[in-house]
Every structure is written in structure tokens, then in C-alpha cells.
Amino acid sequence: MRIILFSWEYPPRVVGKLADYVHLLATELVKNRVDTYVVTYHDFLTGAVEEPNGVKIFRVANPVRTHVGILTWVLTLNQEVERAAASIFYQVSKRVDLVDVHDWHFIPAAVTLKNAFGLPFVYSVESLEDHRSPPANTPYSMSIKSIEWLGFYEAQHVCVKSEWMRDEIVRIHNVPSAKITVVKPTTNSWLDNILFMYKSVAGGASSK
């Protein structure tokens, strides 16, 4: 299996808890013989590198430096994420099973790649705009929420870390609960559960 992880933070760029989680996930996936790529952002450590743990990382910078908010920053950066993902895609003769996008930032890229290549994606939710900026009713929050919604709508599957988060996604975004898998990173079967979910998503794509 070959997958690409999208995350806006990955060590050495650490913003919150997501960076370390995605790093751990990538490392464990490689140990389980999954060919793992990470596309992430860094201001100047750009380009493709393979780390000692076997994870292949493609870091991109924002082509537009001046911004008026997080949204414009994210939306120009997404084109570089697409460039990186497309480079990987063509390099491996289009044999990528799925994209796992962590949080909303790179959902635009995942959505376009899905529609362009038929490449399915999993939306892994670390947090929601409703909880980050309650009551999430400013134009900025509404806009971010609409991108989150697009992610839930277009994703083949949604992965969350708790039952509470699953219920919140059902409540806020009306996502059918059957589309959401709860994988608790604290359990022993954590990685097996993720691999199982990946296989069910990739199964649809590789069978064609």
C-alpha cells in the first residue's frame, strides 16, 4: 500500500499536537510496510527528502508571502500541496492508494486530486472550527466551516480520535455516523484499526 499524508505541521515545524501525531503515524506505517509520503509546509526547508525512519517528506513553501488572513494563506499554499502530491503521483506511475488529510487546511488539494485522479481521501479530524473558535459565526469561521464541510462531503471516510468527536461531527455537519471511524491513539490496536480503515478505502480504488 502507498499513501500520502497531508498535514500543515510536521516536525521540525510544530504548531500543536498534530505534528507529533502525524510523525508517529508515518513512522509506524513505514514499519508496517506502507510506502508513506508526507506533504507538509515549511517556510524554507522545501523539497523532497527521505528521513532515516523511511518516511518520504515533501515540504512546500507558500508562493505568496503577503496575506490578509489564514484563509488566503491556506488557499494559495494548497496549489503547492497539489504540485507536490502530483509529483509523487507521477513519480510512482500513478500507483497511490489514498490520501489521508489531517485537519481542514489541505482539504482543497485533497478534493481536487480526488476529482482529477479518482484518488480517494480520508479526512482525519484533530479539531473542528466550532471548538477552536466558538461560537464560530464570524465570516472567517463560517468560511473555514464550509471547507470542513466540503471535506466531510468529499471524503471516502472520516477518522476521529474519540466518540465525542464523532458525535460532534454528526451534530454539526450532518455526516452519517457510518462514514466515521473512531480510532483511539492510546489503544494497542490503534495502528491495526487505521490500516483496516485504509484498506477498506483503498479497496474501492485499486479494484477498478
Partner: protein, 402 residues
């Protein structure tokens, strides 16, 4: 039918959605390309009561929901609109099995969508730069303006070739983004002369009477009411013109300067002489251009100046400020009158000269009409554009993307 060449064009405006000059440009360019055997797809923004997909003279037009995501401001709206535009385009390209040879972007408003698609489908991207933020604003003063400027720079960086509509714009774009000379091509803008044919001035007497008294000469301005278009120069020239000629000033278009301009007109006590018509429909505009005794283009910054071409096609004499693309279109005393930019006295002189000397006025408008027919013909422009597509595809065929 098997097409030799297929192009997917992106524009944030396409008729009936008309905001500025890009809409008619993309409309006529795509139609003329289709007539020359090119398969053309146009991806654009939606418009009320207009189909999301239609075929216009062989051009496949797709209109994308541009308000799908709530946006806090205009620039963010543009980028969010690009997200949906890119998604829709990806679906279409996928559906037609990648049968697209080139992507063609019109201005920064579609930069994001096109740049991503270029890398995803690995096809060459061309960009037509109709204008620049640094030119429009005469410098970069706010974060939004800098962001737009950097987005334009990014688009020209990613483009295989950059097309501009005048030699002035080629040099301006080269300076603004530090582009190499061989990346730039000049293809003029065109004008559709057909819409002005078969309308005689005599048949418009009744129409004309709605706007001006028979003894009043009509001075026409068509354009957005914004600083760069220099409309305030014309308003300030009005009293000087009225000293010598009885005229009515018809101002077509809207913009953020409207209230300010109305106040100036009021303070000069010329409300009865300066008529602000707002946005008018195409048919009315054509008739106004036919009625105009002089058409004025007083721009301070003008990448091309399509209104001047339209006036020339309507056989209305033109007075333009000697700047940008206008300097190239008009030959002074031959096809029009050039005046100093941002100079009401000079503009008043030019307008008065045309209005008082009928022989001169007829001479320049007839020359202008001939020039328009031969140089700014859409068919010719489509052929020049195809040459650029073919040159780019020739280079592309030797690259590792091919």
C-alpha cells in the same frame, strides 16, 4: 469531430456576467478560436438565470457556483471561488479523459485554480495579463494589494508564456514581475465591429432625445468610475468645454467614485449637463456609442483601452489620454486626438476641437474605423493566439511532462 488543439480557458467573468473588459475579451477570443477549429472550454463564474453548462457557437461554457463558501472579504472570496472552479474543472478534464492541450488563465482572479491544474494534469499554462494591481493602484499600499501583486507574480512565474494586449503592457509586466523578454507575447485586444453596422444616426433621433437636446453635443464616457480611469479629469474639464460648446456629458458605468463625482458636478452646478447613467445593457450602450459626438477615454492607467476601439468601430471620434495602450491605438490627428493624461485643460482642448470642427471629426473617425477593421479583428487575433499555443506545445513536447 476530432480537434487538433483543445484549450481550457478560465475567466471570472463571461457574458452575461460583465464586470470589465475580460468578459468580452474571453467571449470573442473563445468564439473566434472555435471558428478556427480549436476545441474551447470556458470555466467561469455563475450568473442568475444562466445555465451552468451551455454551448455557444462551439464553445463549451461551464459556470461554477462562485458563492458556495461564505467569504469575509473580496480577495478571500476570489481564492474560495478558485477552489470550486478548480474542483469543477478537474471533474470536466477527468470526464473528457485529459483531452486538454493547454490551460489559459485570464488575470490573477483565476490564478489559483489554473496553477494547481497545470501541475495536476501536467499541461502547459498560458496567462493573459489584462492589468496589474501595481498599475491599477499606482503602487502597492495595503496587504491586500501586495497579496494580489504577489499572486500575479506567481501566475506569471508559473505560466509558460504571458500574453499582453499592448506593447505598453508587455513592458509594464516585464518590469512589474521581472520577467524575461522571451516569455512575453503581444496580441492586441479586438473589437466586434458587426454590432455597430446597420445602425444609422438618423434612426436614433428618438433614442438620442432621451439623453440630450437636439442642439446639445453628446460627450460620452464609458468605464468604471474609479480613479485609474480618470473620469474625474473629464468632470473637471466640463466647465471649460461648456464655455465654447453646448454639450451633454453622458457617463456610463459605476464605481466607488460615483458619489464623489456627483458632488463635484453638483458643486459646479452642472447636474443638468452631466448625466450619470450607471450600468446600461449592451443594446443601449451600442446606441449611445453611435450617438456620441465624441467619446472620451481619459484614463491615467490603461493597459489596453477597449472602449476606444469600440468608439472607433461605432465611428465616433475619440479623445484619449496619451498613456498606456491608448498611445498605441490612436495616432494623433489621424485616428483620434491625444491629450495629456490627468490634465483637464488639455482634455477640454481636445474635446472642444473635435466638437467644433466637423470636417476634422469626420476625418479622424473614418480613419479610425478603417484601422479597427484591419488591425483589431478577432479572427486575426485568434490566429495569433493559436500560433502561441502551437509554439508552446512544440516546446512542451520536448519536456519530460510530455
Amino acid at each position: 469531430m476530432r480537434h487538433e488543439l483543445s484549450v481550457m480557458m478560465f475567466s471570472w467573468e463571461f457574458p452575461p456576467r460583465v464586470i470589465g473588459g475580460i468578459s468580452p475579451h474571453v467571449y470573442f477570443l473563445s468564439k473566434s478560436l472555435a471558428k478556427n477549429g480549436v476545441k474551447v472550454y470556458v470555466i467561469t463564474c455563475d450568473f442568475p438565470d444562466t445555465p451552468t453548462h451551455e454551448v455557444i457557437d462551439g464553445v463549451e461554457v461551464y459556470r461554477v457556483d462562485s458563492y458556495k463558501n461564505p467569504a469575509p472579504d473580496f480577495a478571500t472570496w476570489v481564492y474560495l471561488m478558485n477552489l470550486n472552479m478548480q474542483r469543477e474543472a478537474a471533474i470536466i478534464v477527468n470526464k473528457i479523459a485529459d483531452k486538454i492541450d493547454v490551460f489559459h488563465a485570464h488575470d490573477w482572479l483565476v490564478a489559483n485554480a489554473c496553477i494547481g491544474l497545470k501541475h495536476i494534469f501536467r499541461k502547459p499554462l498560458l496567462a493573459t495579463m489584462h492589468s496589474t494591481e501595481i498599475g491599477r493602484r499606482d503602487g502597492l499600499h495595503t496587504p491586500t494589494e501586495r497579496m494580489i501583486h504577489e499572486t500575479e507574480a506567481w501566475l506569471t512565474y508559473e505560466a509558460w508564456r504571458v500574453i499582453c494586449c499592448s506593447h505598453y503592457m508587455v513592458s509594464h509586466v516585464k518590469w512589474a514581475f521581472g520577467l524575461p523578454e522571451d516569455k512575453l507575447s503581444m496580441v492586441p485586444n479586438g473589437v466586434n465591429t458587426n454590432v455597430y453596422e446597420g445602425i444609422s444616426k438618423g434612426s436614433l433621433r428618438e433614442f438620442r432625445a432621451k439623453f440630450a437636446l437636439p442642439e446639445e453635443k453628446i460627450v460620452l464616457y464609458v468605464g468604471r468610475l474609479v480613479y485609474e480611469k480618470g473620469i474625474h479629469v473629464l468632470i473637471n474639464a466640463a466647465p471649460r468645454i461648456l464655455e465654447n460648446v453646448n454639450a451633454k456629458f453622458l457617463i456610463v458605468g459605476n464605481g466607488y467614485m460615483k458619489d464623489q463625482l456627483l458632488n463635484i458636478a453638483r458643486s459646479m452646478r452642472l447636474e443638468h449637463k452631466i448625466l450619470f447613467l450607471g450600468f446600461v445593457d449592451e443594446a443601449t450602450l451600442v446606441k449611445l456609442q453611435k450617438c456620441a459626438d465624441v467619446s472620451v477615454v481619459p484614463s491615467l492607467f490603461e493597459p489596453f483601452g477597449i472602449v476606444a476601439l469600440e468608439a472607433m468601430a461605432a465611428k465616433s471620434p475619440v479623445v484619449v489620454s496619451d498613456t498606456g495602450g491608448l498611445s498605441e491605438i490612436i495616432e494623433h490627428d489621424v485616428t483620434g486626438v491625444k491629450v495629456y493624461p490627468n490634465n483637464p485643460e488639455s482634455l477640454a482642448w481636445g474635446v472642444t476641437k473635435v466638437l467644433l470642427d466637423e470636417n476634422y471629426s469626420r476625418y479622424i473617425s473614418e480613419n479610425a474605423y478603417k484601422k479597427v477593421r484591419e488591425k483589431f479583428d478577432w479572427n486575426r487575433i485568434a490566429e495569433q493566439t493559436m500560433q502561441i499555443y502551437k509554439a508552446v506545445l512544440g516546446e512542451y513536447s520536448k519536456s519530460f511532462w510530455a
